[in-house]
């Protein structure tokens, strides 16, 4: 299904990805359920009463102008906001129904279930192998050498990097190209077999070819993981996601199937943003 999006920017006309518009069947419970989430950085009320359901085994895109709170909300889902001094999160975020802010939930084990990929590729300054093996090691997922070797290989294969690095696993991960580094970081994240992968503008530091490879990868991974991606590229959101959520000034304005948001937004602010009138 191909959807033309009305855009006044010079970006290529986005083509919605293969899974697009196939919203999860109604009745299946959402993977992530956010209710009335408020985030404050000191006195700055950065996220205002956001309620959102994110389905599993699909890609959800967060779009919106800079500073609207996309990254803030993303960091709530794996509690990375805990590490920011002065940051306060209110409300409830459920992961398979469990409140992740419940005192009984350890953020360290939560982050094994919810992986994250950042804007700037940040491989550890260690070997490619150690980058991927790090997560399984600290979580004690694999103790035998061969088991770990297999896991590293499988993760690199799933991240589409194995062919390029299988003969230099001992080389430093920082020596790879930007796009390869980003796929290495994705391999690192999936090595601990998370349920959710959060991606904060994963392609904004990459060239179009590397971007295309990551998008392909996201498409592949969507069949196994719940993926949430923040992007500034409308075209990318249209290409890779099945659901889109539009944020504006700290509020969630509109959410729905990607095709709907891009062709028939209900809110004027969404309309203005995707047509390039604001942002």
């Amino acid at each position: 299904m191909v959807v033309k999006v009305n855009m006044q920017t010079s970006a290529p006309t986005p083509v919605v990805g293969t899974h697009a518009n196939q919203a999860p069947p109604a009745g299946e419970p959402a993977k992530i359920t956010a209710r009335d989430v408020n985030v404050y950085y000191g006195a700055n009320h950065a996220l205002k009463s956001v309620s959102l359901d994110i389905p599993g085994k699909s890609v959800t895109a967060f779009i919106g102008p800079s500073g609207c709170g996309k990254s803030t909300f993303l960091r709530c889902i794996n509690r990375m906001n805990d590490t920011i001094p002065g940051c306060r999160v209110e409300g409830r975020i459920g992961l398979d129904g469990d409140d992740i802010y419940d005192p009984s939930i350890d953020p360290v084990s939560l982050r094994a279930r919810v992986g994250m990929v950042f804007q700037k590729p940040n491989p550890f300054p260690k070997s490619i192998y150690d980058n991927v093996a790090y997560g399984p090691r600290i979580h004690g997922l694999e103790t035998s050498k061969t088991g770990l070797d297999d896991l590293v290989e499988a993760s690199l294969k799933r991240a589409g990097l194995w062919g390029e690095v299988h003969d230099r696993l001992k080389a430093p991960g920082t020596g790879l190209s930007g796009g390869q580094q980003q796929r290495l970081v994705i391999a690192r994240a999936i090595a601990v077999n998370p349920e959710v992968i959060l991606m904060d503008e994963p392609c904004s530091a990459l060239d179009p070819i590397a971007t295309a490879r990551i998008e392909e990868l996201i498409d592949d991974l969507a069949s196994q993981f719940c993926i949430v991606i923040v992007t500034h590229s409308m075209a990318q959101a249209a290409r890779v996601s099945q659901q889109t959520a539009f944020f504006h000034l700290g509020s969630l304005v509109e959410t729905g199937p990607t095709g709907m948001i891009f062709t028939n937004p209900k809110d004027g602010r969404t309309q203005d943003y995707i047509t390039g009138r604001t942002g």
């Binding site: 360290v108 084990s109 982050r111 094994a112 940040n122 300054p125 790090y134 979580h139 920082t174």
Partner: protein
């Protein structure tokens, strides 16, 4: 006129270039002045000190006269007198009744030869009655004469050696018994009251032992304190207070640490005075603030993206710090450690306060025994009256500088070697 010249910025352009040229000139001038001072300083030290590295030794056949050696008390016999007689014999002179001849002769030859004879006789009493050849340094004043630093042209009363002694030295040299050579004693002996016997090794070993104590205390404590402050401490009024105080402590004059060491460690806790242990503890206290500041700077320089990456994969705070942050900060930490140790190596004032200024012959062998260290040795020699100690002062400074250069070079090499891109 071209368009460019007509542009309104054109008339400022000349001024801007003039300002730039002026600034460059000031810079060069400053560098030149700094280099000139450095060259003068180092040049003076080298010129004054290089002669220490050579010395003149004399070989003499000494008759071990049984009449002058008490077999029952070998250590109590006067071997220096035997050496003096050997000198006179070599010169074809004979002792006079007042003993002035042998007195003049003994002022030329180091007592080292006498000690050598004692050692040999102790090892083999059968040597008594025979003639043996011993080789050792000439006295420092004789050495200075051979090096041309005591001149015959100076009035006799104004120099250490009289005309007769100078003539004897000339004749000894001519007879082929005196040889110039490398001054190994300077690098193998501890301090001595006799300049020709005095060496830097005792002080170097003392410095090394003291620095070991300093390193073993300051590095672990400093690194752990810095890691806690930087990575784990809550940011509140207390930690701010601690931070301000650490920065202030780094600026406290070092002699204050010496007073603290004297009051707390020696007078109150009874630490051994003048020992590498006490000196090392005092310098560790002094080095701690610098160590903490350097380590924190190194930790701060690690990009936050690495921390985020580790935390996001589920590493705990401790794992993040020790698996990722500290390894990346290691070159910076090591550089900070070496620089603060090399600072400690050059420190004198606090050590004077804890009694490291005593005369210590021989090489220190215990952390709780008396010892001296390189800068204090330089200080002691500088205050000695004998002329030959002046050149040893300069030579001591050269050894101290060599130590520092080695340490700083190590810091640079470590930094280069472990520095990684990220």
């Amino acid at each position: 006129m071209t368009d460019a010249a007509q542009h309104p910025s054109a008339k400022h352009l000349k001024k801007r270039y003039a300002a730039e040229a002026r600034f460059k000139m000031y810079g060069r001038l400053a560098i030149t002045i700094a280099l000139a001072f450095l060259v003068i300083l180092l040049g003076r030290i080298v010129l004054q000190g290089y002669s220490t590295f050579t010395t003149n030794t004399v070989s003499l056949p000494v008759y071990l006269d049984p009449a002058r050696i008490d077999r029952a008390d070998l250590s109590g016999s006067n071997y220096d007198y035997l050496v003096s007689l050997a000198v006179l014999k070599a010169l074809g002179e004979t002792e006079d009744e007042l003993g002035t001849m042998s007195e003049d002769a003994s002022a030329l030859i180091s007592r080292d030869l006498g000690f050598q004879i004692l050692d040999k006789v102790k090892a083999d009493p059968g040597l008594i009655g025979k003639t043996i050849t011993v080789t050792g340094p000439v006295k420092a004043d004789a050495d200075l004469y051979y090096k041309g630093e005591i001149k015959r042209s100076v009035a006799e009363g104004n120099r250490k050696l009289n005309d007769r002694q100078l003539t004897w030295l000339d004749r000894l040299k001519k007879s082929g018994r005196v040889h110039g050579g490398f001054n190994s004693a300077f690098f193998t002996h501890g301090d001595s009251t006799e300049p020709e016997q005095a060496g830097i090794l005792g002080a170097a070993v003392g410095s090394a032992m003291m620095l070991l104590v300093t390193a073993l205390i300051a590095i672990p404590v400093g690194v752990m304190a810095a890691i806690w402050l930087e990575e784990f401490a809550p940011k509140n009024g207390w930690t701010d207070l601690i931070e301000v105080n650490i920065n202030n402590l780094a600026a406290v004059p070092s002699i204050v640490y010496g007073l603290l060491g004297l009051a707390v460690f020696i007078n109150w806790l009874g630490a051994p005075r003048g020992s590498p242990l006490t000196g090392g503890i005092v310098l560790a206290l002094m080095a701690l603030p610098t160590m903490i500041i350097a380590t924190r700077a190194a930790l701060k320089a690690v990009p936050p993206s690495i921390r985020d990456g580790a935390l996001a994969i589920g590493a705990s705070r401790t794992q993040t710090v020790f698996h990722h942050v500290v390894p990346l900060a290691r070159p910076g930490i090591m550089t900070g450690a070496i620089l603060s140790l090399s600072h400690a190596l050059g420190e004198t004032a606090p050590l004077l306060m804890v009694g490291m200024v005593a005369f210590v012959p021989g090489i220190p062998s215990s952390f709780i025994g008396g010892a001296t260290v390189l800068p204090v040795q330089v200080f002691i020699w500088e205050n000695a009256s004998e002329r030959a100690f002046a050149e040893r002062t300069a030579a001591g400074i050269m050894v101290l500088l060599a130590f520092m250069i080695v340490m700083n070079a190590t810091a640079i090499i470590l930094r280069r070697r472990y520095e990684r891109r990220w």
